[in-house]
């Protein structure tokens, strides 16, 4: 059974000649590592946002397990996102006035959960941030900030992690480190991951590559 199923997704932006997404359907299986590639403006970010319940489609459905995301109201959707979706952005999007540890535990705390210190330390260790637990994002390098964002995405052990160009703002070494972490989560924890990327090297590391052009999925090459 697919973990995530998108059916006939259409996203229209007012003023645009053609839809950003044009009747897109796809299914993602549990434990998959999927890369979505495509040129700028092809609709890959839009697709990711719709898969994560961040934006609403003009038509079509997205089902995560048995839940139709867009049948939920705003509050239910927020709680669903909090528990079932981990989001990673290109520009990290950390809260600048929360420490590394606080940023990572934020989704859990929003849910009223308290993360045991041992669990947090283990996560920080896996991210290579043990010594940075009390640092503010502004005191970290780009790679470190992205690792914090990965920690935040994983803290609630979501059903799926969606990463939008997670290495787009990083150098080669940091990019590899981020990909290593995502692979680790995928392989060791069985975490389903969807990554958007321009980088063919990154895409190569995925178990499946989906290509999108002009808002439509292209036939797979392999």
């Amino acid at each position: 059974m697919s973990i995530l199923t998108a059916t006939d997704l259409v996203k229209d932006y007012s003023g645009e000649e053609r839809p950003a997404l044009d009747h897109v359907s796809l299914a993602i299986e549990p434990g998959e590592f999927v890369a979505i590639v495509g040129p700028s403006g092809s609709g890959k970010s839009t697709l990711l946002h719709l898969l994560g319940g961040v934006d609403r489609p003009t038509s079509g459905t997205v089902q995560l397990y048995d839940t139709d995301l867009y049948s939920l109201n705003e509050t239910q959707l927020a709680i669903f996102r909090r528990r079932q979706v981990g989001l990673i952005y290109q520009f990290y999007n950390l809260i600048p006035n929360l420490t590394v540890a606080e940023n990572i535990t934020l989704p859990a705390e929003l849910d009223g959960k308290s993360i045991p210190q041992a669990e947090l330390t283990a996560l920080l260790a896996s991210l290579g941030l043990v010594n940075k637990a009390d640092a503010l994002p502004s005191q970290l390098s780009g790679g470190q900030q992205q690792r914090v964002a990965i920690g935040r995405a994983l803290i609630n052990q979501p059903a799926i992690v969606l990463a939008d160009e997670p290495t787009g703002n990083l150098d080669q070494r940091n990019s590899q480190e981020i990909m290593r972490l995502l692979h680790y989560a995928n392989v060791k924890e069985g975490q389903t991951i969807v990554v958007i990327t321009h980088d063919p090297l990154i895409a190569q590391q995925a178990s499946r590559v989906i290509t999108i052009e002009d808002g439509q999925l292209q036939p797979s090459e392999g």
Partner: protein, 802 residues
């Protein structure tokens, strides 16, 4: 501490400039609420103290308390102190002659007997002259009884039925203060005579006094109708029998708070809204990681309330500090003006609590819409960092005549930016409203509170109706007092003008009767009119002012008297017609001492009066002595009045020096209060403008960095923004000044309702100039801040990260 609380506090701490700006904006509102509430409460208590002093702090009197129960009654827990006395009615003083006050058998006098200790407690404030009686053969008399042989130091015979007692007069008491004025003669005894007593009491708490006292009295067999309250004082604190007063006080507080509330609401809303707008992307991010709309809603409320706490503390400090300063200076001024009102600063829990509740309510109200907006932010905002694209029509993009002619590129850019800015309208409305409020209200208040009341040239004026005394006696007594620079004494009565001339018909005119020799010397014995003014209102509501006798008017005058019989009906009198000479106030300075500015009088000799008296159906006894004098040293006015009272007890004295000073002090107190209120109100609006201006600057930072990156210098950017700002401030100032002036004029017209002539309105030029200076200052500060910000900002960082 929850993560949302932590996030609230961290956000506030890391964005210190914005936080401080919002706290200051809120603090101004809190200052205003605290200052107004504490000020009103202090004024209320000061006024209460002023009135309750008349009854030595006692608020209630119970008559008919039986001798057996007096002690237990006076020991009641509800009372802070008490005093008791007995009364004896139908008393007469042998030395008072027929026709004088106190000689009328239909209105006999009342004598009070009280212990020396109780008199000291409850009667000290009554003393006008002399001292309180200490021995049983001493009395204190009402000032109305003083005159002739009845004065301090003399022995009088008091008759009650067949009993007669001789007493030495040692004191003179006011007839108008407190409960003891029930009697006109007060003497002391160590034990009160048999019979029921009157108990006066100071209660520990005045709350619901009208409900509690009758219940208490009932337990001691005292009827509710036998209770007299110090209503004048109780009225001030809303505890009088008339519940309307209480609601009127509440209405005043609510109205004032409503005005502050609206201004504060706009300002706090602006501050919170600007913060929410600046945090849209953050909210989007929080939403994308699972924050619910409700949690964001709470976040905004929480942050707003967190800011309200230090703002309230600052408000308490500034408000109480400010009102203390204002009251200290008013107190000093009142003391200099010999005003007996002792201002006390009262900082009790109620105004502080109301201010706190008010601030919380206003903050919650102000935060409601921004909180709703925050909760509506979609998660996608976090990713796209959407800048709302400006909604510009072709008209906006078209260059105006001015833009086409301006050659200087920075000025051209500034003009284009200004024309295309959508934000300018809300700024312009706020600015215009602020200037309108300040110019309109201050201009109106300055006109209303200008001292327009003409005053006597005399320092002391007085009237006396007595058959026992003649003009020579009065002049002699005045001379004996010493210290007089100029004086004038006439005998007067009121006349009613008659005749065909409509403007004279049924108008009042003073008749001054002077000795024959003086009339011969000053007026050649010809009746003379001292020409005053007639004030009328035209059909369209305009006030007009004319002389009583215009140059073309005939020099013949008809009049009658306003004689009333015992039933208050006009008695039949005939009309007298006489020729007269005309004189002005200025030509007769000695009469200005007794004649109020603008009033008119007909001056005649004693013999003319005697000739007219039968026709007018009046006699000599209906003439009242009217005197006016100036003192060599005005500061001696109080002592002079006191000494004159002791000589001429039933004289009505008007201490014009004290009156003028009281009026001036009251006016200054009102000005201080009203100007303070308006200034704070304007300050709130001004803070909104400053908030808007600097928030706009912060929002433009990225755009400005781009301009810098293409080679625009910091000086050029500062110049461009200053031009944009100057255009906005000038427009707001012009619109606000015009509107404010119109409002000031309109309100003045509405309030004067034809009572005040056009000439007395002053256009609010000072206010307009003050506003211009304030706006110039804001413009200058803005330019400096812009310059510093532009020079310090990291262009690369701004362009990359935002």
């Amino acid at each position: 501490m929850s993560i949302m609380t932590k996030l609230s506090i961290r956000s506030l701490r890391t964005e210190l400039a914005r936080t401080i700006m919002t706290i200051l904006a809120m603090a101004i509102a809190a200052t205003m609420a605290v200052a107004v509430l504490v000020g009103l409460r202090s004024m209320q208590i000061s006024m209460y103290n002023y009135y309750v002093k008349d009854s030595a702090g006692q608020q209630v009197s119970f008559s008919g308390v039986s001798r057996q129960r007096v002690k237990a009654f006076r020991d009641e827990e509800a009372f802070a102190n008490t005093a008791a006395y007995t009364t004896k009615n139908n008393v007469a003083i042998k030395e008072i002659k027929a026709g004088e006050y106190g000689a009328d058998k239909d209105n006999p006098l009342t004598q009070i007997t009280i212990t020396p200790a109780d008199l000291k407690l409850a009667g000290k404030q009554l003393l006008v002259g002399g001292r309180l009686p200490r021995k049983s053969n001493e009395v204190m008399l009402s000032e109305m009884l003083i005159g002739g042989d009845v004065k301090i130091g003399r022995t009088i015979t008091v008759k009650t039925g067949q009993d007669t007692h001789k007493y030495r007069v040692v004191g003179v008491m006011s007839q108008f203060k407190g409960f003891l004025t029930e009697g006109q003669i007060i003497h002391t005894a160590s034990t009160l005579p048999a019979g029921r007593q009157v108990v006066m009491a100071k209660v520990k708490s005045t709350r619901d006094i009208h409900q509690k006292m009758p219940m208490l009295a009932k337990r001691y067999g005292v009827k509710a109708r036998s209770i007299i309250y110090q209503e004048q004082a109780l009225n001030i604190i809303g505890e009088s029998a008339d519940s309307k007063t209480k609601w009127a006080l509440v209405a005043v507080v609510v109205a004032v708070l409503a005005i502050i509330g609206v201004a504060a609401l706009i300002m706090i809303y602006t501050s919170i809204n600007l913060t929410v707008k600046a945090h849209r992307q953050r909210y989007g991010l929080l939403r994308s990681i699972g924050t619910t709309p409700k949690q964001l809603h709470h976040l905004v409320y929480q942050q707003s309330l967190l800011l309200a706490v230090p703002a309230l503390i600052l408000g308490y400090g500034f408000g109480i500090g400010g009102i203390t300063l204002a009251m200290t200076s008013l107190k000093r001024m009142f003391a200099n003006h010999e005003l007996p009102l002792d201002l006390v600063l009262v900082v009790d829990w109620l105004p502080l609590l109301i201010a706190a509740v008010f601030m919380i309510l206003i903050t919650l109200l102000a935060a409601a819409r921004p909180a709703y907006k925050a909760s509506r932010v979609t998660p996608i905002v976090a990713i796209r960092a959407l800048d709302p694209s400006p909604k510009l029509t072709k008209r906006h993009l078209k260059s105006t005549w001015l833009i086409r002619r301006v050659k200087q590129p920075i000025m051209k850019l500034a003009l284009k930016n200004y024309r295309r800015s959508s934000r300018k309208w809300s700024m312009l409305v706020t600015l215009t409203t602020t200037v309108t409020i300040f110019v309109g209200l201050t201009g109106f208040v300055r006109n209303v509170l200008q001292d327009q009341t003409p005053s006597y040239t005399a320092d002391i004026t007085g009237t006396l109706q007595s058959q026992e005394i003649d003009m020579q006696d009065i002049k002699r007594i005045l001379t004996e007092q010493g210290g007089i620079k100029e004086s004038q004494v006439v005998r007067e009565m009121s006349l009613m003008m008659m005749g065909k001339a409509k403007k004279w018909s049924h108008r009042q005119l003073w008749l001054y009767v002077i000795p024959n020799d003086v009339a011969k010397k000053e007026f050649n014995s010809v009746p003379t009119v001292i020409n005053g003014k007639i004030y009328n209102t035209t059909a369209d509501g305009k006030a007009t002012e004319k002389s009583l006798v215009e140059p073309d008017d005939p020099r013949t005058l008809s009049f009658t008297t306003e004689n009333l019989d015992d039933q208050g009906k006009q008695t039949k009198t005939k009309i007298i017609t006489t020729h007269f000479n005309l004189a002005t106030h200025e030509s007769l300075p000695q009469y200005q001492l007794i004649l109020y500015p603008g009033d008119s009088a007909l001056v005649i000799s004693q013999s003319t009066f005697e000739k007219w008296a039968p026709t007018l159906n009046v006699d000599d006894s209906q003439l009242t002595y009217s005197l006016g004098l100036t003192l060599k040293d005005r500061e001696t006015h109080t002592a002079f009045v006191k000494a004159l009272k002791l000589e001429l007890g039933d004289i009505y004295i008007y201490d014009q020096v004290a009156n003028a000073r009281e009026a001036e002090a009251t006016l200054t107190a009102m000005r201080t209060g009203v100007y303070g209120f308006i200034t704070l109100l304007s300050l709130i609006s001004l803070a909104t403008i400053i908030n808007h201006t600097f928030a706009a600057l912060l929002e433009q930072r990225r755009g400005l960095a781009i301009l810098q990156s293409v080679g625009t210098t910091a000086k050029q950017i500062t110049g461009m923004l200053s031009i944009q700002n100057a255009l906005l401030l000038t427009r707001g100032w012009v619109f606000g000044s015009v509107l404010g002036s119109g409002i000031a004029r309109g309100l003045y017209q509405l309030m004067s309702a034809g009572q005040i002539s056009d000439k007395s309105f002053h256009w609010p030029i000072i206010e307009i100039v003050v506003t211009a200076v304030a706006l110039l200052l804001i413009g200058a500060v803005f330019a400096i801040v812009t310059w510093r910000m532009i020079r310090k900002q990291d262009i690369d960082l701004m362009i990359r990260t935002e």
